[in-house]
Symmetry: C2
Subunit: 189 residues, 2 copies
Amino acid sequence: MALRHAVLAALLDEERSGYQLAKAFDVGVANFWHALPQQLYAELTKLEREGLVAGREVVQESRPNKRVFRATESGLTELRDFTAAASKPSFIRDDLLVKVQAADHVDAEQLIEQLGDRATAAAAKIELFGALLRQMRGDADEEEFLRTGHRIGPYLTCLRGLAFERETLDWCRRIADVLRTRHPSGSTL
Amino acid sequence: MALRHAVLAALLDEERSGYQLAKAFDVGVANFWHALPQQLYAELTKLEREGLVAGREVVQESRPNKRVFRATESGLTELRDFTAAASKPSFIRDDLLVKVQAADHVDAEQLIEQLGDRATAAAAKIELFGALLRQMRGDADEEEFLRTGHRIGPYLTCLRGLAFERETLDWCRRIADVLRTRHPSGSTL
DNA sequence: CCAGAATAGTCAGATTCTTGACTAGGGAGA
DNA sequence: TCTCCCTAGTCAAGAATCTGACTATTCTGG
């Protein structure tokens, strides 16, 4: 039941359309939750029916009209209740880790390649999150922004995303090194 | 479809019962995949029907009998095919991050408390993973173990788990500090 | 002695998430 | 001009996951 709360959290500070949400919740961007467009449109429909978000039609020229949503007072109440309740523990679920778990039994070169792909993706996210953070804090430095800034929630989750991707990048490189040392297969030094 | 591969990966090196798997895939322990007992028993049934794992009854005294499983040759092939295919990108999905995203709109003290809870859990996992790593590498130091060790797959995923939990712990503390600075509410310094 | 935890599973039902397709108009590049 | 991508959504079906309950036996702590 947390998708709805993630959506509410995203609609607190600004109005967004389902399409905009879909882009924010995309795998390549999301820093606090991930979901597919279909889930988001469905959830918005439910949230609106329950009065937790309010929608508004925006007529546009030269592109399709859209409906934008904002969290209502009762949406905020719902989110506060959610915050008051215990958080579920987070856990790891990652294809790549499964492959590494089986590292001693599978093709090392394939694994190294996949670690490289993941590293590339992580590097892209690091760039993205770095830019996002700079944009959010504006002229202030981080300490100052976090002390006095206006809206720090998104900044804090973005910091988490950044740390996570950095960790991913380091780990991928380290593991690839270990595997290369054990299997000097390519011999293309 | 990755649960089956996670199970196969767990049954490569040693026989395990569903019950043992269930404990290894528990939220508090899992370092490469998480699943509930029900899922694991169901998956084992399917895997055995498809010949990817082989089960064997073990009669026990003073406790219920059990069935232990091991990956078969065709299970290993399946896992190799899985390794050859591209990995799905990993993503974040965490209640606590949703709450932090909404930090500017919810009760700071509750948030700080939850960050503390998560930090405690992370510290416990750090202990656990540290002990696991020491046990796996035995007398060797890490570099040596990773160069010459026998089975490094589980070690590598455990390293990832450890790094992740350390990152979680640091982040929780940092965010709690930030929130305390902005809301010197308790005034119980 | 009795309660509760650990071992070792099973079943049904609901919810959530993913896959894949489909509509429709406008702008940009080859 | 033709095609592809972007905006902005919708629908259906299936797979994966979670909630919650239920059966047995044995060992352990109070």
